[in-house]
Point group: C2
Amino acid sequence: MTKTYQIVGIGNALVDVLSHCDDTFLAELGIEKGIMQLIDMERAVALYDRIGPALEISGGSAANTIAGAAQLGGRVAYVGKVTDDQLGRIFAHDLRAQGATYETVMAPAGNGAETGRCIVLVTPDGERTLNTYLGSSEHLEAADIDEAMMADAEWIFLEGYRFDGPGSHAAFARAIAAAKRAGGKVALTLSDPFCIERHRAAFAKMLREDVDLLFANRAEITSMYDTDDFEAALTRAAAEVDIVVGTDSENGATVVSGADRWQVPAIPTEVADATGAGDLFAGAFLWGLTNGHGLESCARMANVAASEVISHIGARPEADLKALFRRHGLL
Amino acid sequence: MTKTYQIVGIGNALVDVLSHCDDTFLAELGIEKGIMQLIDMERAVALYDRIGPALEISGGSAANTIAGAAQLGGRVAYVGKVTDDQLGRIFAHDLRAQGATYETVMAPAGNGAETGRCIVLVTPDGERTLNTYLGSSEHLEAADIDEAMMADAEWIFLEGYRFDGPGSHAAFARAIAAAKRAGGKVALTLSDPFCIERHRAAFAKMLREDVDLLFANRAEITSMYDTDDFEAALTRAAAEVDIVVGTDSENGATVVSGADRWQVPAIPTEVADATGAGDLFAGAFLWGLTNGHGLESCARMANVAASEVISHIGARPEADLKALFRRHGLL
């Protein structure tokens, strides 16, 4: 029986507040370049006061992944918590307008956290540095997981970032159990090296027991498997996980599945804003996989989608991704 | 004595909700292309439900003008009303972060209109069609006008759009009186042909009695002076107003002052999003004027600034405008 959803993503529901700055500005504020740093509301307000004019655009790592798969025509849904405020309504609109199902109950406005946001500082080299106020997205818990939706998904896609927060582990456990009972599969992205440091044991357990497909970049997978050797880390991951997809920026992606290994080059692109590269990579890969494409083709599609999203400001696709896949002979 | 402000702008404080669509979509929704249409909250919500994914970016015609002059290093302030909600705080941040003074008291959140927004629909030709929910910006009234600030301005810049709303005429009258008493000058933009239809008599009276500098495009000035002849309309306006600046899209701008007349060509530009062209034109022109540049140079700077803002999404400048002026030999 065909399941309703090809992919259901679970993650931090955030609106990106995107502003340009130079490296000096990051240094002055003591912000480490290129990573994601969690900040509280007080710090978010103080930082916002310091940055230049910004624009607001829906983000959130797994939400970007789902938006990408939705733009490709995938049957997809997203689970993540916002508050019923202006930014929350913006977040919900943008996902639904892209064709994704989004039904997570909003937190009431006025007496708690606002919708989460990520202050994205883009330096002239296109690199992005993330300062995340989780807001209500931190409070997604087991009760927010609709087991019927999880059971009705071919794949659930878990965002490593979403492991921060008191109820997150229970929420992921409930989602994994419901999906697996119904024959669904589990994909995980490690999200960020610092995220791994915060949740190493939980990630290790999930990789051993639950994960069927792992997305990780060089920094993440070498941290996770405690080695400097990217290829060795991939091999070790592939001993635990059916499909391992390692990305290495402009060096492209490597897919390892059992004894098979493919190295797929990146698409050379002038980087306007690196935000969302990994997210769109995952969205296109999972879309390809759930539409019957081979792993190497999936990785090629993923590279094309990543190159599209880094060529402009914002972490959601602007160009028609299917048309790009056709142009690259992938459809 | 040097005044604190070179320019103080008064207008509708709006956040733009920017989305792409094709001409068929506009036709289906019965929206006339290229103009500004006022909508109520109910229509704004219904329209928002229909549009694709969007991004949010501070806008408002006179606010864009002030942001442009601020980016050039001008001493500028803005007066316009938002609500103390998330979009209102975004609007305030973006103006202040650009270097403008913005002190208008926010309307309290929760028991009235939200911050105004403009749903900007950009078609593939780069033309923008505006659907404006005025929200709290409609309620700027005389009490919001700080007479000391007006008296401390070399120029006040009035946005024609801001004439909609119950207290607007009294607010403008107070601003004009305070500025004039202190030797200040008054610039007006007619904003939009439909805006002129709504406020023809009031605009005519202001042009006869108060306005020292008029900005208008071809459609606006020919409507205002009830003629099909652009040049004739400019001549008639110049009989009432010291400096008349008429813009005609890719045909450039004409400045008329007494017996003098200059025609200044536009900068050929691929239009990504026409939003803000007239606003940035006015901002650069007024910045040039208040920095001692001749009228022809002001118009050349204005064309450069307009070409910058239409080359990208959003109505605020991204590139360094002074650097562009230097590249064009204007500084």
